[in-house]
Assembly symmetry: D2
Homo-oligomer: 293 residues x 4
């Protein structure tokens, strides 16, 4: 887990993270850092990136410490809003004391699901798991044993719309959906209505082996590395902006079954890293790619 630069440690009630994007131009850093200094904030970390200093888009992530932040949020946000307007910024602020409400969706395979639940319980992932939704009953007892609500929503042939409707009802108020090996395709309508980012893990090094049975495809092509890719879900299947990828060496002795088994560790590591970065407000999707601070 990339734990560096987290703003959720000691003194969390006084810490926040600001994520900004706007048209690039002179004076942005000076204005933002001057504003924070004037508010009495101490900048802890700062990252920035510009697609092009002329006519490009500018991105910035700042974490800062501000005593009495709990009391002054409203005023702080109003004041920053004024500055943001001047630079045509899109921005969001998150407070280290507030954890995101996350829903996990899975199918038969539970290695990614259980790994995320475990990390949440250990405090490695700053999230509250609102519920687990699965189209199979298999993981119920293990999920409930960890005190997490389990919702079984079967997806029958020709009844996907109804199943999605039920899922959307469960997802009200959720701020992030993680598809932890959820093997159903979500409709455009679902994505339009869910109202929060959706992260998926695909068990290949995308764009290689998109679609069904990537380990079989990998076996047949005879690749020497297998991969896993965590990405935002968009309407185009397996084509959303990539957050994180990794690979693992394999050889001619691996059968399709052994590739799948060997890939499990990879899948859960890659997904956990992507979710951690999302929860730390490190990821911005832009023009089909991601900036990961």
């Amino acid at each position: 887990m990339a734990a560096d630069g987290s703003h959720r440690g000691q003194g969390a009630e006084h810490s926040a993270c600001l994520l900004i994007s706007c048209p690039d131009g002179p004076g942005i850093v000076a204005a933002v850092s001057g504003f924070l200094f004037a508010q009495g904030a101490n900048i802890v970390t700062s990252d920035q990136y510009s697609t092009d200093p002329e006519h490009g888009t500018f991105f910035m992530r700042l974490t800062f410490y501000l005593p009495a932040l709990e009391q002054t949020r409203g005023g702080f946000e109003a004041a920053f809003g004024a500055l943001a307007e001047r630079f045509q910024m899109r921005w969001r602020i998150s407070y280290a004391s507030e954890r995101r409400r996350v829903a996990l969706m899975a199918s038969r395979e539970d290695h990614c699901l259980m790994d995320l639940l475990w990390r949440a319980r250990r405090g490695e992932l700053a999230m509250d798991v609102a519920c687990v939704i699965s189209n199979h009953e298999l993981a119920r007892s293990e999920v409930e044993a960890l005190g997490v609500r389990f919702v079984h929503i079967p997806v029958l042939e020709g009844e996907r719309a109804a199943a999605e409707e039920r899922a959307l009802a469960e997802l009200a108020g959720v701020e992030l959906v993680v598809l932890a090996r959820y093997m159903q395709i979500l409709s455009s309508e679902f994505l339009a209505r869910v109202g929060c980012p959706v992260i998926n893990i695909h068990h290949s090094f995308l764009p290689a082996f998109a679609g069904a049975e990537p380990y079989r495809q990998a076996y047949e092509r005879g690749v020497k590395l297998i991969g896993a890719t965590a990405h935002y879900v968009t309407e185009q299947l397996d084509e959303g902006p990539i957050i994180e990828q990794d690979v693992q060496r394999v050889g001619h002795r691996f059968t399709v079954t052994e590739l799948a088994r060997g890939g499990r560790d990879l899948e859960r590591m890659v997904l956990a890293r992507a979710v951690a970065r999302e929860l730390e407000d490190r990821v911005i999707a832009h023009a089909g790619r991601t900036i990961v601070f």
Copy 2:
């Protein structure tokens, strides 16, 4: 998990693994493969290594398939024993249908412990967990929820000998002990009496940062990679033959706490790989080092 070449798949009741070491010399491979052919066995995988073709030691691992093996074990072993004597072989045979009895020992940190239990339950590790021994009560409910016996053996100052005595009683009949972040030093007497291999995970890239608080040592030295090492336990602390190691990139932003958190994934992966190889009879310790087939 390195799953290739396993002999524990389909037809497991007819499969076996032979691990051999002997003084090197001409004709060993011919004799062994001729013997197996004569017995009607089909060699599935074969690995060999010699420290030196002249006057060195020769090592060999064979997996083979032999219809009716279940019925003919006694005769097979007697016949091979005669051949083995001729070449002064040390050898052991394991049958794919028999799983090893393994005990896990842990202290406060449970990430390695739970990871091994989880893999065992999914069938990724061919072992039966006889019990979990811990000097803390913390993991009891989780371990028992998986149907595994949990034994709390506190280690009080000045009473290590008594604690080890209790542990030895629990370990009777166990074929492998895995120290999954067990933070107590085991005495030479314990190691002499336990009667089976003991594998430990050390949270550094040995021989760097042996001893206490390796992540603190790593922080202070300013290394750019942290590591984990799985090794056989010998009387010399942290000096036993190394089975598996791996590393992970870190940077100047990591605090000691963040190094420890980041290292957890590494520790559990490295330990799981070492245990898998041990269970597949792939590891031979020789002259302070290991051959890993």
Copy 3:
């Protein structure tokens, strides 16, 4: 460089490597190892693999030491040929004392070319470089400074056939052709007539980003790793059996130019490893994939 198990060290004049493939069935290992024992040979390393013990194909690579091998080659090969016929083996033998004649082909970029020449000169690659063929003059002085013949064969529009004819004339007697960033497509006719394996380096993790400008494609897709793939050249561009692949982490700050620069180290390492394995007779192409011992 995977240097383990090489048969080209001390006593090279007495060492050889046997590479075998045949229909799988009982008794092959026993027959081969029995034959070598009877000839007085000492097996140094042995690897085997079967696509399926029943009705599959069996592959084996043995290196062995045989005093007086220099004198007895003819007899040895005739005797083994008889055994081979019995098992319907395809086989080849190579002698550690004989180095393969290799031709390198390159275009503008010379990092892979110079790296291979350099490794050859240091003795890391057991080959004699017959010549370097390029469709550009750029690398002439550097190549000739290393005492290697440089042949400039421009490839003009519409005159590929003539250029290939010239190249084929230069390649007479060559046992391996390495395309070290040669940016021309070779015709099926060329491949049919060249009479030896052709290895190419493609600057992506195939099958992702086949075809032109892979670093631009990688940039546009926003991948978090770039790759390189060494493969045998077949009629289908970028679809030949893969010998070796590797990847390297990149991020959102990399421009297309920086990806290309960062990929150079990857390309030369991957190509050098593939060539080394080919020269050590470790690679067998089978059914569109490779076995790499």
Copy 4:
């Protein structure tokens, strides 16, 4: 090569890099970014790090673009000097249009040496190689073929002081010394007088296997990974602040010779990355460790 965020591309004559360290406290980022904005500079990249927001040390690296920078350097530096004094900053500025003068020192092994010279020639390393100093004559013709001055300074027993005196004379005006497998120990007096950073490559994963023959030590300990470490040279041998490290998997089949051969690629990659980061002003040594932006 980590090529991201370089300030030495197009428009290099208008680009610069500012590296700052000072006691941490409020308002530093605001002051620096406000200063650059007032000067008409556009910040291209910015990194910062604090050992501790209270009473710690603050580090910052900025690259920026300033039209007419060539003409206004003197005024710019004077103005920034005033600001720097207010915050008790240590700082240095480098201009993308100026390349550092670097000397390389090597002994018998030339793989690191030739790799750096090659990269310099290809434009991958923004440096001018002032000279190569070696205690052996071996590499002369190759170095001179690249148009670089070669100075042979033998180090005879008991005459190290005289040899160092000669080397110091050659190194006048040099801004960085790179020990590219230079196998002589440099005296404290030499380090005190050389007046610029000295970077060394050690062929192990420090702190493991410091001192002589690290590959032999690695072999004897039976490690499963070999490493290389680039570090600043200090009076304590092999104990200077680490800039970069990497590792490579090995196994029981590797002899000491094969470890050394396999490690060459690692050594040249690790050293090249460390030198690139130093040349891009990304590295600050502090309290025995490094911050690498």
